[in-house]
């Protein structure tokens, strides 16, 4: 473990960005997102939650995978490689780090999505423990420790007042630290104490969060029984606007569409994020198996809370980041759904 003074950060950003694309939580137009850092950008490492997650770095919102020409039914196809330089992303919270693992389960299983793998392989992830968790955070429900060094981060970092402590966790992480070692100093006993204090501070804050008591184990019953709870699904879906905000902000939603863009006799095939909330998601030539918003909303939550865990050793397709809780315009949130499915008679 090493530490770096906060006053040295601009130098660190400069140094890293000479070799890598550097992504940091940057404030623009009152929103905070992981964006490519350039000198003078307003970096905010104190606010725990970026508006969108870091998912777009490994699974871009739109991505061209094929260019084509089609003239008089004579075709030429050219595969487009995944583009981008090696990058470093600093400030990924433990929930978002876990979301990469959940996306890996989908995209890296056979047959491997080579675009995703490419984006994943060229990244070095530096996590940052959550000094100031938000009221809508509930990562602990999914076994995520916001004070810890999350599995999957190449370097884990903590804010300990005037400096950050860095702990390398992979070869990639060690390499990055070696290349910037002149900016870091060794830690001493006092720093260790500060780190432990920071961890226990975070733990205390987590315990006080309003959603700290979410208990997923209360969701009982077979897949069919949970599916059949139409009263609950109806109750929530009645006000769903099908805007899809939840899916787009979600770090674990991975559904996509394939589309063609047409130019003059040539064009591109690309994929783009999609949402099971929209009515044309499963629309087929002979109709739609999910005709109501209730069915579509049920699908999203069944996928996150029942189907995904069944396929992935009990892991839920949610990390408790709280973005959907924060941003749903009609306050349909997954916490209320979990509670309701768990038998609590909470107010909507």
């Amino acid at each position: 473990m090493k530490k770096i003074l906060k006053t040295k950060l601009p130098e660190l950003w400069q140094k890293i960005s000479t070799d890598f694309d550097l992504f940091l939580p940057i404030e623009k137009n009152k929103t905070l997102n992981f964006s490519l850092w350039k000198d003078g950008e307003k970096v905010n490492l104190d606010k725990v939650r970026t508006t969108t997650s870091s998912k777009h770095l490994v699974f871009p919102q739109t991505e061209t995978y094929l260019k084509f020409k089609n003239q008089n039914n004579k075709l030429s196809l050219k595969a487009v490689k995944a583009i981008g330089d090696e990058y470093v992303i600093f400030g990924v919270r433990p929930c978002d780090v876990k979301s990469f693992k959940l996306l890996d389960n989908i995209f890296l299983r056979e047959p491997v999505d080579t675009y995703y793998r490419e984006h994943r392989d060229r990244g070095t992830i530096i996590s940052l423990a959550c000094t100031n968790p938000e009221d809508t955070c509930f990562c602990s429900s999914f076994g995520i420790d916001a004070s810890s060094a999350p599995l999957g981060a190449d370097v884990a970092a903590w804010d300990v007042g005037d400096s950050y402590i860095w702990k390398p966790q992979s070869e990639k992480g060690q390499k990055l630290m070696d290349s910037t070692k002149e900016l870091f100093t060794d830690i001493d006993e006092k720093d260790i104490q500060n780190l432990e204090k920071e961890k226990s501070n975070i733990q205390e804050k987590l315990e006080d969060l309003p959603f700290n008591n979410i208990d997923l184990s209360k969701i009982k019953g077979t897949q069919q029984e949970i599916f059949d709870k139409e009263e609950i699904w109806n109750e929530f879906s009645e006000r769903c606007l099908a805007c899809g905000t939840c899916s787009y902000l979600c770090p674990t939603c991975h559904c996509y569409d394939l589309q063609d863009y047409k130019g003059n006799n040539h064009g591109e095939k690309f994929r783009c994020w999609d949402s099971c909330m929209s009515s044309d998601f499963t629309l087929m030539a002979h109709g739609n198996p999910r005709t109501t918003q209730m069915q579509r909303l049920r699908q999203r939550f069944m996928h996150k809370l029942v189907y995904y865990p069944k396929n992935h050793k009990g892991d839920y397709s949610c990390v408790g980041c709280g973005r959907c809780v924060d941003r749903c315009p009609v306050h349909i949130d997954i916490v209320k759904i979990i509670k309701k499915l768990g038998g609590e008679n909470n107010e909507l």
């Binding site: 989908i106 047959p111 063609d260 095939k269 499963t282």
Partner: protein, 279 residues
């Protein structure tokens, strides 16, 4: 499941050529497809699917209707019912399309060996069954008695008429039983829906049944088979949902925890009863 394009992403199609076009009915055409070298584009098993694309019109998944034993090409019988299929029906021999696959699982032909088989098809649902039927015919000694029940709306809607009238009935221990929904002047055969027709045929319930057709026909046929004493473990069918990626990632075709494109399209009926009724 595997993709033929080894180092490429499984989303990337290869160029294929429409070698032959055979009009089956007013809305179904069978396309013989080869790769750009004139060979079979990829190996597959009966029941598996191919994704065909016509940029920039779009891409859609189709079951392969030819048998894997056919070494020269793959065939897809395609009903005109949407943007991609409308355009496909305009294509002439020599036209190039994109093709990727094979996708999905297959009918378990190894497990069917030495068993009596009952194929039940409705409309274009004969397409994936034909792949298995011809596979069985090409390995005839490995299988028991074969009954093929096939129905369509009208006699003019029966696809693969050469197979059903001239080829299969002449095979050893093979019978073809046809029905149509509507009476027609040129039809002396049975009139009535497939599920009822199956019941009148009084088959022994020791066979393995393979069912494919429109969802409503499948539903009532499975009920009929149950009434006839078939156990769910003896019946296989195929499910259909919108498939885009074909490899279980884009999330469009899941029914419960299954992806039709990856875990299906072939399901044994005892597996289906565990799935939410969303298909």
């Amino acid at each position: 499941m595997s993709c033929s394009c080894h180092d490429q992403d499984p989303l990337i199609p290869q160029i294929a050529v429409i070698k032959e076009v055979r009009v089956d009915t007013h809305d179904v055409t069978t396309f013989k497809i080869v790769d750009s070298f004139g060979k079979k584009p990829f190996e597959f098993l009966p029941g598996q699917c191919a994704m065909i694309s016509i940029p920039p019109i779009g891409e859609a998944i189709f079951s392969i209707t030819s048998s894997p034993t056919q070494e020269e090409y793959i065939e897809c019988s395609i009903k005109k019912c949407g943007t991609v299929t409308d355009y496909l029906h305009e294509l002439e021999p020599g036209s190039e399309v994109g093709v990727r696959g094979p996708y999905g699982n297959n009918f378990p032909v190894e497990d069917l060996k030495n068993k009596d088989l009952l194929f039940i098809g409705g409309g274009i649902g004969l397409a994936p069954l034909r792949s298995v039927i011809n596979y069985v015919m090409d390995n005839r000694e490995d299988f028991g008695v074969v009954d093929i029940v096939y129905g369509a709306r009208t006699p003019g809607d029966l696809v693969h008429s050469n197979d059903i009238f001239d080829v299969w009935p002449k095979e050893k221990e093979t019978a073809v039983h046809l029905t149509v929904d509507n009476v027609s002047k040129n039809w002396n055969g049975h009139v009535g829906f497939v599920p009822n027709f199956v019941k009148t045929l009084n088959f022994d319930n020791n066979k393995i049944a393979l069912v494919c057709g429109p969802p409503i026909m499948i539903k009532y046929t499975l009920q009929a088979l149950e009434e006839m004493g078939f156990k769910k473990e003896q019946v296989y069918t195929t499910l259909e949902l919108k498939m885009k990626c074909g490899i279980g990632k884009c999330g469009r075709c899941n029914i419960g925890d299954k992806y039709v494109c990856k875990d299906g399209p072939v399901f044994r009926c005892d597996e289906i009863t565990e799935l939410p009724n969303e298909y």
